[in-house]
Structures are given as structure tokens and as C-alpha cells.
């Protein structure tokens, strides 16, 4: 423990209290750990301690075939499994020069954006719970449950989808499922307003978040924040738009950025608000994709023994927690030579120590929630 020097009266000193937040703490969204040094309620230092959920996903990539690795990528971030699927599939396709069928691309976009909605629902719901509002969490999970049902219809799984294949998607989206998805969107878009009335516009909620843990543009760039956390600082950077992939260039959608409408630009509320806006944007994208869904095969012809030529590539997708990168090296064999996954939550963890100086313990919980760090994505 640190002993600070006596301030006023000699012989009277205060000690920082060292508390371990996690790994079994309800608000660390999995198994994160922070070693927090506090002066009463005020935090002096919060050191993230990662590695409790390490599952060697990158190493497993070297031991299984290219096709066989896709289900493993699900587990990299189980709240947004579709994006890791897509990242790896895109990397493999790029190495082998496989062209994805057009219908496959649209199916991917629909599944991904539905998955983004599900992931953001978890994010904003648990964020509300961190602040103490229990009801929005359950409402958000109720909606997510419907998405899980839809996903089950699309690909037979509710959480770790394993839907994408190299060259397309595993199962075509049936017309009945398309109607169901439209029904869900009709139902869901007003729910976002309800959610706003219940949580986002709540006075206490705003008070807790406005102006708390502000990330400046410079900090965001130097700490390599990505995704909604970066956009909340007012930087309009979205991989879907700036390094286009899949069918996103053909689609109309806004990229919501933080405006600091309540407090300061880049505060916790902005990060929350960007996610709420993205819920609506994703719904828009899904609607467009359903409308544009072309006929044709959902998957290209890819040999069962998939052997891309030797080489390396780096592919980025815009996951709900930001830029997810796959660096894949092939030596021309049946197995990838090396797979490296770069995720948004890991870099978001690094800024927590800087932001948490001088804020209160309750704000640390809000900060973790607003950055939407997700334990499986950090450790992989």
C-alpha cells in the first residue's frame, strides 16, 4: 500500500486502499480484473489485469484446417460471433482469391447487422444495469431473445453461429425468415424510442454519465480506440465506409458520431448514445439488404481441401466493438500458418487507467460499461 506523506498534522497520514475489482465482480462483464487504489471512494489508479479468459484461439488456428477454424472464431467474441466469422472468411477468401456470391454477401450483411443489434442491446442493457436501472436490461434481453430466435432460423444456432463459410454462407436465408426479420424490425424500431424514454432521457442516468470519463480526440487516436468508442469522440471512422468491404458501399446508412449533446464531447453518454443510434442504423441496413437480396447461390464453389497459396493478408471488419482485424499467414498447406486477431476491447482496456484517475468507484463501473469491453474479446 502506498503511504502518502503527512499533509497537515504530523503523525497523521492516510493510506490508499487497494481493492481488487473482479475477476468475479458483477459489473466487469465477464472475468476482468482491476487492481484499484482508492482514497475512500475516489480512484487514484486502476490497473487492468487481463488474461482470465484466455482460450488460445489464435494458436488453435494453426492446428485446424481452414474450414475447421471458422467455428472457433465464433468464440473470439461470443456476443458478436458473426463478425469474427466474417473477418476470418474474408481473409481466407482474399488469400485464395475466392469470389463470394452476391447473395452470400447480402446474407452475410443481414446476419452481421442483426448480430450487431443483438450485441449493442446487450451492451446498452448491461450498461443500464451497471448504472442501477434493472428494467431496461430485461427489456433489451427480451428483444435480443427474438434476434436469437431469428438466428436460430437462419443458421440453427443462437449464440455461436458458425454461419459464414469461406466463399459465402452455410445456409440460405429463406423467404419466410425474411418476412420474420421484417416483422421484427417493424416491432423493434419503436422499442428503441421506448428504451430512450425509459433510460436514455432519464435525469439520473444523464447526471451519472454526462461529462464523466471524457476521451479527447487525441487520446482516442493515441490509445487506438476503435468503433463506437472512437466515433463517440467525434471522429467519423467506420471500416464499413472508409475501407469498404462486402456490400456496404451499395447501402445507405449514416455513421453516428458523438456530438456532446448532453455533456462534453467524448463522455460516457456519447459512447452510449452512439450505440443507441447504431441500433437504428443497423435496422436500416437490414431493411435495405432484404429489399436488395438477389437470387442465386448462397455459397461459391470452394474445394473441400482448401489450400490457399502461400502469402499473408490483413483484413478488417467493423465489429460492434470496433475494428476487428485478422492477420492470416498461409504457407500453402491445409492449415493456416499463423492467425492473429486484433480486437477493439483490448485497446479500450488500455485507456481505462488513464481515464479512471480522480473519478469515483461508481464512475469506474460506468466507464467500463460505456467502453463496452468484453472479456472474451480481450483475451481470446
Amino acid at each position: 500500500m502506498d503511504q502518502t506523506a503527512p499533509i497537515e498534522s504530523p503523525g497523521f497520514y492516510t493510506e490508499d486502499m487497494t481493492i481488487s475489482v473482479g475477476p468475479q465482480h458483477p459489473s466487469t462483464h465477464g472475468v476482468l480484473r482491476f487492481v484499484v487504489k482508492t482514497d475512500g471512494e475516489v480512484i487514484n489508479e486502476a490497473i487492468p489485469d487481463v488474461g482470465y479468459l484466455h482460450r488460445s484461439i489464435e494458436k488453435i488456428g494453426e492446428k485446424v484446417t481452414w474450414h475447421g477454424y471458422v467455428p472457433y472464431t465464433d468464440r473470439a467474441d461470443y456476443l458478436a460471433a458473426m463478425f469474427a466469422n466474417q473477418g476470418f472468411c474474408m481473409a481466407a477468401e482474399k488469400l485464395a482469391g475466392v469470389e463470394v456470391t452476391r447473395r452470400g454477401e447480402f446474407c452475410r450483411a443481414i446476419a452481421c447487422e442483426l448480430n450487431r443489434v443483438a450485441s449493442h442491446l446487450i451492451s446498452v442493457g448491461t450498461f443500464g444495469q451497471d448504472i442501477g436501472a434493472m428494467t431496461p436490461f430485461v427489456h433489451a434481453l427480451r428483444e435480443r431473445e427474438t434476434i436469437n430466435n431469428l438466428m436460430e432460423e437462419i443458421c440453427g444456432a443462437r449464440l455461436t453461429y458458425n454461419y459464414l463459410r469461406i466463399g459465402g454462407v452455410g445456409y440460405d436465408i429463406l423467404p419466410e425468415t425474411c418476412t420474420r426479420i421484417t416483422e421484427f424490425l417493424d416491432h423493434f424500431e419503436p422499442i428503441v424510442d421506448e428504451f430512450n424514454r425509459l433510460l436514455s432521457n432519464n435525469k439520473i442516468f444523464i447526471q451519472r454519465l454526462a461529462g464523466v470519463a471524457v476521451v479527447t480526440k487525441e487520446d482516442a487516436l493515441s490509445y487506438n480506440l476503435v468503433g463506437p468508442n472512437l466515433r463517440a469522440c467525434g471522429i467519423k471512422w467506420d471500416i464499413r465506409r472508409d475501407i469498404p468491404y462486402s456490400v456496404y458501399p451499395e447501402l445507405e446508412f449514416e455513421i453516428p458520431v458523438g456530438t456532446g449533446q448532453i455533456g462534453t464531447l467524448g463522455d460516457s453518454y456519447d459512447r452510449y448514445w452512439v450505440r443507441i443510434c447504431e441500433l437504428q442504423e443497423s435496422c436500416k441496413i437490414v431493411r435495405q439488404c432484404l429489399k436488395m437480396l438477389p437470387k442465386g447461390p448462397a455459397i461459391a464453389k470452394v474445394p473441400r481441401k482448401f489450400k490457399p497459396p502461400a502469402g499473408e493478408c490483413y483484413v478488417r471488419v467493423e465489429a460492434p466493438r470496433g475494428d476487428m482485424g485478422f492477420y492470416v499467414v498461409s504457407d500453402g498447406s491445409e492449415y493456416p500458418y499463423r492467425v492473429r486477431i486484433r480486437t477493439g476491447s483490448y485497446t479500450a482496456m488500455s485507456i481505462i487507467d488513464k481515464l479512471s484517475k480522480g473519478i469515483m468507484l461508481a464512475d469506474l463501473i460506468a466507464l467500463i460499461g460505456s467502453l463496452d469491453v468484453d472479456a472474451p474479446e480481450i483475451d481470446r
Binding site: 486502499m17 436501472a133 434493472m134 428494467t135 430485461v138 427480451r142 424514454r197 439520473i204 469515483m360
Partner: protein, 395 residues
């Protein structure tokens, strides 16, 4: 009740026994009856009700397995907790650790001595009634602080310290709000305060003048904070402090804390009903004492439970405030406002020594308008929340 025992003694029922011993036995018996017949089921059913109400608000089902609609859930929980191992951490201060739940429980239970369930249904109508309630509820903070300190756990300690700061601070606005009513009623006795009001809403102290109207909301907010209820549940904020001062407790000791919390909800409602809402006052519809007593009990119970329900509603709706915001709310807004209420009421009493019936009715109409506006808002939300979802949650 004392009169009744006096009568029994005079009739020669306890010949040869000193009077004091008879009184003591009677008090123990009364405490036993109140505890086992009324308080335990009340706190238990409140816990079940809270879980059910909460579940419906969150479009869940809630406990519905034990007994009809799950109403006996509290019994099952109680038995389960009784059978669990009672752990005392080796690093804890064992004596204080085991004592703390009882201190909390006692602080809450003692209030039932003066809560008037009806015109004659009261354990003891102390002449310092409301002051007594304020005093014994402050004992709770000692127990919580004991629990937090004795657990020898940093989370518990943080929870205990937060609780101490919060309860001590919020006693001031609560006490001042109570004081406005004491001035109006001219007595501290709970029965006296109720008798100073009438059965009609415009005879309630709530609508007596604008300041008591404000004082009521101050009291209710401060009482929520004193009872560690959302949005002021920072001592046991589960997302921050895991469980606050109860982190290290298990089994029945753990349950005692929650027993006290849920029972306390009823005490909050009962005190609010007594001070502001005319208590058990009913229109003179019958002269049969038993029927009248039953009617008074029902009226009082409903008035008290209305506020219990509202506390549950608030808990399901609002997020939690931060520690500094909690303190700022108390010291910057509620304490000055309650002083304004106190002085305003005093000036009002100087201006209208006999009260002002006309203005009370105006205030009553105003109160109705506020209620009406509130319900239009609720209806708006209900319309837009599409209640059909709750019957068919997954499209």
C-alpha cells in the same frame, strides 16, 4: 392495551404477582404476537410482492411456484436460509459480526411499537411516538456500520461507510419534514397526529397547506434514502459493491438484513400514512367497534401499502445516483427545502390559526390535478409501450 391489563389485574387474574412482572410478560407476549403474526408475514409477503411487481414491470413472470401465485415463496426462502450454513469469516470480528443483524433487525422492529394500525390497535401510544420512530430507526445505521466494519472486507466497509453517511444525512430532511406535521398537530403521539386529521382528504395534513404538500415528498424521498431503496441504494449497489455490507453474510443472518429492509418499506408507508394521509381515519359509517376497527385497519393498510407499491415502482424505473450526487441532493436541495417547509408552515399557522378549509380543498384539487397529469403520462407510456408485447413477448 395497558388499560386492558389493568382491568385484568383488578379482576384478580394475577393475584400475588407484582404489577411490573405482569406488565413485562404482557409486553413480551405482545412483541411475540406482533412479530410472528404480523411482521414476519408482512415482510415476507412484501418480498414476494416486490419480486412479482418487479417481474411484471420487466415483462418476466417472477416467483410463481410455491403456493398460489407463489405467495408462499418467502416461507421457502426463509426455510432454505435457516438450513444454510452460517459462516463467519476467520478474519472477521466474530462478536460484532454476529451481533450486527440483530441490531439492524431490532432498530426496525421497535418501530412497530408505536405504529397505529387502527383507533385502538396499537401496542403503546407513546406520547413521544414519532420522535421514538426517528430514534429507533437511527439504530439501524449502527448495525449496518457494525456489519460493514466487522466483516473485515473492503467492499463491506465501503458499503457500511456509504450507508452511515447517507442515513445520517437524510435524517435531517426527514426529521424536518416530520417536524412540520408535529407543529400542525401539536403533539408527538401517533394517535394524536391521526386524530388531528379527518377522514376526508382535505382534512389530511398533506393538503393542509402548500408547504406540507412539499414536505410530504421530501419525507418520502428521504425515507427511501434512509431505507436504502433505489435510487439511493448505494450501500448495497450490487453493480458496484457486489453486495455492500452484507457481502460476507450467509444463511439467516443475511436474511435478517433483508427482513429489516422489506419490513422497513412498510414502516415508511405507515409513517407517511400516519403523518400526511390521515392514518386510519374512516367516515363514521358504523358504530360497531369491531367492524370499525377492521375498517380502520384496512384503510390504514391500504394507505401504507400504496407507498410500498410506489417504492417498488420507483425501484423498477430509476437508475442509481452516485455518492456525491446523493450528498449534494441532500445538503444542497432537500435540507434547505425542508427548512422552507418548516418555516412556511409556521407562518401559515400564524396567518390561519384555525386552519383554512377553503385552501385545503384548493390544495386537494391541485393534488388531484397532479395525480391526473401523472396518470396521463403513465397512459401515454402504456400506449407507446404496447402492452400486447407483455402477453406475446417474442413475435
Amino acid at each position: 392495551m395497558q388499560a386492558y391489563i389493568d382491568q385484568l389485574i383488578q379482576n384478580g387474574y394475577f393475584a400475588g404477582m407484582p404489577k411490573e412482572v405482569v406488565y413485562a410478560i404482557a409486553m413480551v407476549l405482545a412483541a411475540f404476537i406482533v412479530l410472528s403474526v404480523f411482521v414476519a408475514p408482512l415482510a415476507g409477503v412484501t418480498s414476494w410482492l416486490e419480486r412479482r411487481v418487479w417481474a411484471r414491470m420487466q415483462s418476466r413472470v417472477g416467483p410463481n411456484r410455491v403456493g398460489p401465485q407463489g405467495i408462499l415463496q418467502w416461507l421457502a426462502d426463509g426455510i432454505k436460509n435457516l438450513l444454510k450454513e452460517d459462516l463467519i469469516p476467520s478474519a472477521a470480528d466474530a462478536k460484532l459480526f454476529s451481533l450486527a443483524p440483530y441490531v439492524v433487525f431490532m432498530g426496525f422492529l421497535c418501530t412497530f411499537v408505536v405504529i397505529p394500525f387502527g383507533g385502538t390497535l396499537i401496542v403503546a401510544d407513546l406520547n413521544i411516538g414519532i420522535l421514538y420512530i426517528l430514534a429507533v430507526t437511527s439504530v439501524v445505521v449502527v448495525g449496518i456500520l457494525m456489519a460493514g466494519w466487522a466483516s473485515n472486507n473492503k467492499w463491506s466497509l465501503l458499503g457500511g461507510m456509504r450507508s452511515a453517511a447517507q442515513i445520517v444525512s437524510y435524517e435531517i430532511p426527514a426529521g424536518l419534514a416530520v417536524l412540520t406535521i408535529v407543529f400542525l398537530a401539536g403533539t408527538l403521539s401517533m394517535q394524536g397526529i391521526i386524530q388531528a386529521q379527518g377522514w376526508a382528504p382535505w382534512d389530511w395534513f398533506l393538503f393542509s397547506n402548500p408547504f406540507t404538500f412539499a414536505a410530504f415528498f421530501l419525507y418520502f424521498t428521504a425515507a427511501l434514502a434512509e431505507g436504502n431503496r433505489t435510487p439511493f441504494d448505494i450501500p448495497e449497489a450490487e453493480s458496484e459493491l457486489v453486495a455492500g455490507y452484507v457481502t460476507e453474510y450467509s444463511g439467516m443472518r443475511f436474511l435478517f438484513f433483508f427482513f429489516a429492509e422489506w419490513g422497513n418499506l412498510y414502516v415508511i408507508g405507515a409513517v407517511a400514512a400516519t403523518l400526511f394521509l390521515g392514518g386510519w381515519q374512516v367516515p363514521p359509517v358504523t358504530s360497531d367497534p369491531i367492524l370499525l376497527g377492521a375498517l380502520q385497519f384496512v384503510v390504514f393498510f391500504l394507505k401504507a401499502y400504496l407507498w410500498v407499491f410506489i417504492a417498488m415502482w420507483v425501484r423498477a424505473t430509476l437508475p442509481r445516483v452516485r455518492v456525491d450526487q446523493l450528498m449534494a441532493l441532500c445538503w444542497k436541495y432537500m435540507v434547505p427545502l425542508s427548512f422552507v417547509c418548516l418555516l412556511g408552515t409556521v407562518s401559515w399557522m400564524l396567518a390561519f390559526p384555525k386552519g383554512n378549509q377553503f385552501f385545503s380543498i384548493v390544495m386537494f384539487v391541485f393534488g388531484l390535478l397532479v395525480l391526473g397529469y401523472f396518470f396521463t403520462r403513465v397512459l401515454f407510456q402504456l400506449r407507446h409501450a404496447r402492452p400486447e408485447l407483455y402477453f406475446k413477448p417474442h413475435i
